[in-house]
Amino acid sequence: MEHSHEEIKKHVRKYIFVFVALMALTVITVVVSYLHLTITTAVIVALFIATIKGSLVAAYFMHLISEKKVIYITLLFTVFFFIGLIVLTMTAFHDQVMIPHVS
């Protein structure tokens, strides 16, 4: 086994810390939502906080912070293709000779 007893104990302390951080961020994002900011600001703030939370889960609970190369490469491509899907589709919708939603 590659992890010693001590190391695991250290991990556990990290998990508790991450848990607290996640709770705090949840509270923050909910509180911000009650301010009813303009939609652009609200989106930026909400996604920013969500990204931090998501990264914390991925990095510590899913151990991505110290993972093997194969997994990094796979995820790198996945994220790239995901961004491709979303960005290219959105661009295509914007750069449209006919606008799809005429009411």
Partner: protein, 628 residues
């Protein structure tokens, strides 16, 4: 018996039988977790689906050639029924694979009888327009999702890939079995859809909304079936990738992998990452149809002069994006395994290393990467602006380069070789120019200017059939002739094979070349009457009959293949383990692998690259990978 080229290989038969309980028929052949059995299951099922898809098309071709004339049912049903009876006769009516296949053929004759009769489908024996659409949609779906991909990936990939990398089985054998059964359920759902009210799905294999959303019940079945097929592919893809990453035998580095394995590797990544968006889209369309959401339905839709009452707000274009995000990579799922098969056969039969192995591998990887960012070249006509179409035109032109690199490498590999012209090699040789035509005809489609004219015409049909039919399907035939000795320990008959090849080769071109001509004149695809009603088509209408007759004649040549397949199983010439004197592990390190057993008793070790043929100074003209 083993010619024992390797000291690491012990005959698998002897060792295993001693300490192995005899498994029952069911666990050995039906609910098996052995990759070879599963490969054969995929193979048999997908061949039957290919046959069904081909038959649907033959019924359609009657309508195109002789619009408005009653369909001659007997002429179609009888030969298929007779093949079934013959198969059962050859297998002696005993419970065996042959008999099962015979029964399936007879069932298929019954199915065709059903499909080609009935007042709703064929009033007075003449095909109803909606029914023509259903046949077209199901032909496409069955051929691609139930025929070619399961044969190229499910069958060949499953059977051959683990042998080529020296693995005892797939990484997750139970998951492998599940993939097959989920695939089968998806296939059965597709078949059931022919019997539901209103018949099978009739909105094309692309299922564009809003048409698909107001279509009859068959479309719902289609969507459910697709969800199963996609799930099966995803599980399969995970299994393939893990197997290739983790189970390669000692010494088998990535640059020593046979190209076939590389092709399966890239293909699996395409399936893994491109299919989920279609699964999402399928679920959304299913919800649109079943619970009344409006993801793809715009507001203010008017159907047959009546305004549709719905919440609206959706957009059909979204479906097209999600669909083509899969469906473009899907065309490479169709072609890459085919290229893999061709590479193996060409290297072996020229008795030379592949020319530019490294570049072929890099090209395949590059194709895999690029195929995720070219999809909207199917959508120029949707009113895409110039900026975004410039992007997709550029990526489309770029992705054709690696295809050409692979094709060139394969062609140059022939130079200076002492070529053995067996049936498998003939199919492989034909693949090169046929895929060449298919690829080159794709270029004008990739440029928006010319595509605006060619889109949705028979030119597109000609283009992709050249890649898929005389391209991929020829490669799959080649693969069957090629690996048949590995499966059965016998060879297929060469004379019958050559008749099959030449007949198919000539007919293919008579079927698909005229499509390119028709398309350039402007004949639209999906025309129920073959384009008769438009004046601009008149000059090319005569080609409809030519193509139909070529299609039926080609069907006759397939009988040579079917007979060859079954007779050779029983009566083919017995041969050694390494019939083709090949270098890869599938041929050298195992004896004709016993089913439902492990592949190797002692795992071999690899010392060489995949295609070391005619190495100067070597004793033989081939150096197996596991020979020191």
């Amino acid at each position: 018996m083993s010619t024992s080229s390797s000291s690491h290989t012990v005959d698998a038969h002897i060792h295993h039988d001693a300490d192995h309980h005899e498994q029952g028929f069911w666990s050995k052949y039906v609910f098996s977790t052995d990759h070879k059995v599963i490969g054969i299951q995929y193979g048999v099922t997908s061949l039957l689906f290919l046959f069904l898809g081909f038959t649907l098309m033959m019924i359609m071709r009657w309508q195109l050639a002789y619009t408005g004339e009653p369909f001659p049912v007997i002429r179609f049903v009888l030969p298929i029924g007779i093949i079934g009876l013959l198969t059962m006769f050859v297998s002696g009516f005993k419970p065996s694979l042959g008999t099962t296949v015979g029964i399936l053929f007879i069932a298929m004759a019954g199915l065709i009888w059903y499909l080609a009769t009935g007042e709703e489908r064929m009033p007075m024996g003449i095909m109803a327009p909606e029914y023509y659409n259903a046949l077209g949609a199901m032909h496409g779906t069955i051929m691609i999702f139930l025929g070619v991909v399961p044969l190229g990936v499910g069958a060949f990939g499953n059977y051959v890939m683990p042998l080529q990398i020296g693995a005892p089985d797939m990484a997750f054998p139970k998951l492998n079995m599940m993939s097959y059964w989920i695939y089968l359920v998806g296939g059965v759902i597709m078949i059931i859809s022919f019997f539901v009210p209103g018949g099978a799905a009739n909105s094309g294999w692309t299922s564009y909304p809003p048409l698909s959303e107001i279509a009859t019940e068959g479309q719902t079945w289609w969507l459910v079936g697709m969800v199963f097929l996609i799930t099966s592919s995803l599980l399969g893809a995970i299994n393939f990738i893990v197997t290739i990453l983790q189970l390669r035998v000692k010494g088998l580095g990535f640059m020593r992998l046979p190209f076939f394995v590389w092709a399966q590797f890239v293909t699996s990544f395409l399936l893994l990452l491109a299919f989920p968006p279609l699964e999402a889209a399928g679920i959304l369309q299913l919800l649109d149809r079943v619970v009344g959401t409006n993801f793809f339905l715009p507001s203010g839709l008017v159907i047959s002069g009546e305004k549709l009452v719905n919440a609206g707000g959706g957009t059909p274009i979204l479906w097209q994006h999600l669909f083509w995000f899969l469906a473009h990579p899907e065309v490479y799922v169709l072609i890459l395994p085919a290229m893999g098969i061709i590479a193996e056969i060409i290297a072996n039969n020229t008795r030379k290393p592949l020319w530019g192995y490294k570049y072929i591998v890099y090209s395949a990887l590059f194709i895999g990467f690029m195929s995720f960012i070219v999809w909207a070249h199917h959508m120029y006509i949707t009113g895409m602006g110039t900026t975004i179409s410039a992007f997709f035109q550029t990526t489309t032109m770029i992705i054709s380069i690696p295809s050409i690199v692979i094709l060139t490498s394969l062609a140059v590999s022939l130079y200076g070789g002492s070529i053995r012209f067996n049936t498998a090699m003939l199919f492989a040789l034909a693949f090169i120019p046929m895929f060449g035509i298919g690829g080159l005809t794709g270029l004008p489609l990739g440029l928006a200017t010319s595509d605006l004219h060619l889109h949705d015409t028979y030119y597109v049909i000609g283009h992709f059939h050249y890649v898929v039919a005389p391209g991929t399907i020829f490669a799959l035939f080649a693969g069957i002739y090629w690996w048949f000795p590995k499966l059965t320990g016998r060879t297929m008959n060469e004379t019958l094979g050559k008749v099959h090849f030449w007949g198919s080769f000539v007919c293919m071109n008579f079927i698909f070349f005229p499509m390119l001509i028709q398309g350039m004149v402007g004949l639209s695809r999906r025309m129920y009457d073959g384009g008769e009603q438009y004046s601009h088509n008149q000059s090319v209408l005569y080609l409809n009959e030519v193509m139909s007759i070529a299609a039926w004649v080609m069907a006759i040549f397939q009988i040579f293949f079917i007979v060859n397949l079954f007779v050779s199983m029983k009566k083919g010439k017995k041969t050694t383990d390494n019939h083709w004197e090949a270098t890869t592990l599938d041929w050298t390190a195992t004896t004709a692998p016993p089913l439902a057993h492990g592949n190797f008793t002692t795992l071999p070790t690899v010392y060489h690259g995949p295609y070391e043929y005619s190495v100067p100074g070597a004793k033989k003209d081939f150096t197996p990978q596991n020979e020191k």
